[in-house]
Symmetry: C2
Subunit: 213 residues, 2 copies
């Protein structure tokens, strides 16, 4: 049986962004049943037991027949290796390549506007620079998507789960809509039934556990 | 035969940081011979031919018997799969996990001070916030290294190539030296003959091609 962790509740600003969504989405695409172990944000994240499973005190963490894993990208790739739906055998190296590109070359750029906002970087030159860096990455990614519907090839793979959720981090900006090829790709990925199911499950948990006013 | 790209020359500020170093290091550890194709920074990086190989116009890119790859992390993992020296069969999932942790959970934090500096973020609250974020990631990583010499287990793996080169990005700060467990780990990795050979090869190329004053 597969077991994964997810937060019981988080503020609305990050609903649909917490990274258990990636793992839920991969499991839905692969058709694998799983259980969710809910984690309360706070002291539970700092216990030795929790840190042994997730050294950075975050979610998701994953357990399957005694194998424990953390880091959402690694968990998605681990699931992908069990599923032709997520990683066709002949495209293994390319799925890995684009998964890493999403989580490093692209996310390094998409996280920057978000992290600068959290960090209180004011409007002006530094923020403009971060946005330009991000725009360049999106433009280069859009050039790749001119020739195909998904990031690896004509069909959906695990790399699209990672690329699409990385792009979702830009939802408070107009960066995605300003790059039409990226906007169409993002919408194409998020229209998948497996994504909708995964998102609904994450949001239902947050709704059920919302603090009363 | 294996072929990879590297820059002909870059400014001193990034000597020893350009990511072909990771691939050179992995190839040296695995004992695989390779050829380097030098890339001049500028128009060559924007050609359709170059972008077909490296969509973001960077180095390294990799070619091996017709298989082309980009993204240094993906190339290192591809090499690792050929080499018990880099990825013991029984630890595949854990090497992947820690490689992704280095390139995402940790590098997201280590790149922030560097990117903010490039972006001209002035001293003050935002930069302090970025440094605190980075310190927390290093502290959590140091806790893991209390129990073992390398990031996956007692022996060196591909994940250490990625984690150590991520930590090198902090060389203009005191963040690594302030976390003794991280400093000792970083030094342990960089003391390896394969790293020294890879670094010497990168630096020799830059020296040979340095612009004359």
């Amino acid at each position: 049986m597969i077991r994964m962790t997810a937060y019981k509740w988080v503020p609305t600003a990050v609903h649909g962004l917490v990274r258990d969504l990636r793992v839920r989405w991969a499991l839905e695409e692969a058709g694998l049943p799983y259980e969710v172990q809910l984690v309360e944000r706070g002291p539970e994240q700092a216990t030795a037991e929790f840190r042994a499973w997730q050294p950075y005190g975050q979610v998701p963490a994953y357990e399957e027949d005694g194998l424990t894993l953390f880091e959402s990208g690694a968990i998605v790739l681990h699931i992908a290796e069990k599923s032709e739906a997520l990683m066709p055998k002949t495209l293994r190296a390319q799925v890995l390549q684009w998964s890493l590109a999403a989580l490093n070359s692209v996310e390094m750029a998409t996280m920057l506007p978000m992290l600068m906002r959290f960090g209180g970087v004011p409007d002006g030159a530094p923020r403009d620079w971060a946005l330009d860096f991000c725009r360049a990455r999106l433009r280069d990614t859009a050039a790749v998507l001119k020739d195909r519907d998904y990031i690896v090839c004509e069909r959906f793979t695990a790399a699209d789960i990672l690329m699409a959720t990385v792009l979702s981090e830009l939802r408070d900006t107009d960066l995605v809509e300003k790059e039409p090829g990226i906007a169409a790709y993002h919408a194409r990925c998020l229209a998948r039934p497996a994504y909708k199911k995964a998102l609904a499950d994450q949001l239902r948990t947050f709704a059920e556990n919302a603090p009363t006013a």
